[in-house]
Amino acid sequence: MALSQYTAIMLVRLKEQLTYRLDFIVGIVNPFIQLAVLWFIWAAIYNSSPEPIIGGFTFTMMMTYTAISVVMRSFMNPNTEYWVEEEVKTGSIAGALIKPLSYPMLCFSRDSGDVLSWLITKAPIILFAFIFLGIAGPVSLAFFLSLFLGYMINYTLVFITAMWAFWTAGYIWGMRLSRIIISELASGAIIPLSFFPIWSQNLLNMLPFQAVFSAPLLIYTGTIAGDAVLSSILMQLAWAATLSAIAYVLWRISIKRVVIQGG
């Protein structure tokens, strides 16, 4: 069977992921813990509030938002920053550069392999949420398109952060941490953006992070509908195109700076 280069890499990465058993089990349990913690926090907030609707969300809507967000977060976790950092730091990037492969595509296909393995580890939380918590399905099927675009936008953001490794001899831990913290808060992954003051909502809506979580989640919960869905998806497309272009240019500049460390 002759697979395309990148499909083959994706499948090998999937195979490799399945060899770590403990990691595999932790990956199954993790989202349950996250969901439980957020569940109790939101329950406490809604119980102590005189209003049944906060920031436009009823408690049921909020739990749907949170459950889907927890599942999404476990997929929006590419390892590309970690790999690029490691490969630049140790010089093992040489092994990738001697192959007839595009390095950005190599990174992307490795991460796609991880996503495939997460489909297995995250199946329990998805089943649990739908069967035992009675989480509703997506209001509009446009959610899936929006989810895919969100994934691509998140990936390009991660790739852009990873490019710093070429400029710092492979030390991007601080950059990575900042990227994670900013995108957790600014994307609406934990708290819906409608909970923020208006001025900061306006600011956050101008940044790409909200296109990763908030946009698909608002479509899922039906908070936005009709033309608003269409313009939200167009906004995501624009971000995906812009960020991909930036990532590509950064890659072309960064690779010229490559120094193979350690002999």
Partner: protein, 329 residues
Amino acid sequence: MPENIIEVKNVKKEFRTLKKKAGLKASLATLLSRKYKVIRALNGVSFEIKEGEFVGMIGPNGAGKSTMIKILTGILTPSSGKVTAMGLVPYESRQKYAQNVGVVFGQRTQLWWDLPVKDTFDLLRHIYSVPMDVYKENMKRFTEVLELDKYLHQPVRKLSLGERMRCDLAASLLHNPKIVFLDEPTIGLDVEAKFRIREFLKEQNRNGMTIILTTHDMGDIEELCPRTIIIDKGGIIYDGLTSKFRERVATQRALIVDFKEPSPKKIVLPSGAKIVNREGDRAVIGINIRKTTVAAVIKHVLSRYGVDDIATQEPSIEETIRKIYSEGI
């Protein structure tokens, strides 16, 4: 006459590195103001390699060999000068060029660490789009010559250095590359593994593969490479026949003799041999092989003195290069 497959013209490569001093105070200072210094790794290197050649590249650590190999493989871009290989500029058409090139970096592996070796081979078949029949035939041949069958189904992390190196070598040749670069492929290997790898490389070269090898082992060069390029301080200091270089430069051998106690006070030696160093029962005898032979000196010593142990030593690459500087070729 075979065609040139690689042409290197006046290649220079500079690296900019941060100047850092030791100590906490100096570390804090570098946070505020940074000073860079330019290191010139290659200082105008030119040479040509013909199709089917087996060329050895030697030189002391930090001489610029590895930088040269990395430019030739398309990983690094030279600061100035030009490289063409198989009609392409490696660092400009890296992906296309890589399709016909095989590379082994002795100090790192390109095998997938946590998976059985066989899985990496299979992945490489897809990456280089190797047709199934070619893949099967190569696998069969490599397995036989390099004796891989015992390791094929083991995860790479469980292999010894020698085993891993054999697998790495096979991995780099699966797609029948036209040019192969080997950066210290025998580093740290035992005699058996070295022998296997040398035999394998000889066979590949007979089949028309162009091979460029860097090494620290003069044995590799003498056995494999008719032509030697010596690089030192970023420049080529010798490019020619290995045999000629050997003959002209390596005229010295050392003989280490441990005498039986009580060791003789004065040792008489034939002409062309002299005591270089004497420490207790051990003497190091320098032999000029233009004037006499190692065998004649051993015979001379054994017939006159009681000896516990005797060993010969070849000059190291570093010594040889020092000699080129002091005496010329």
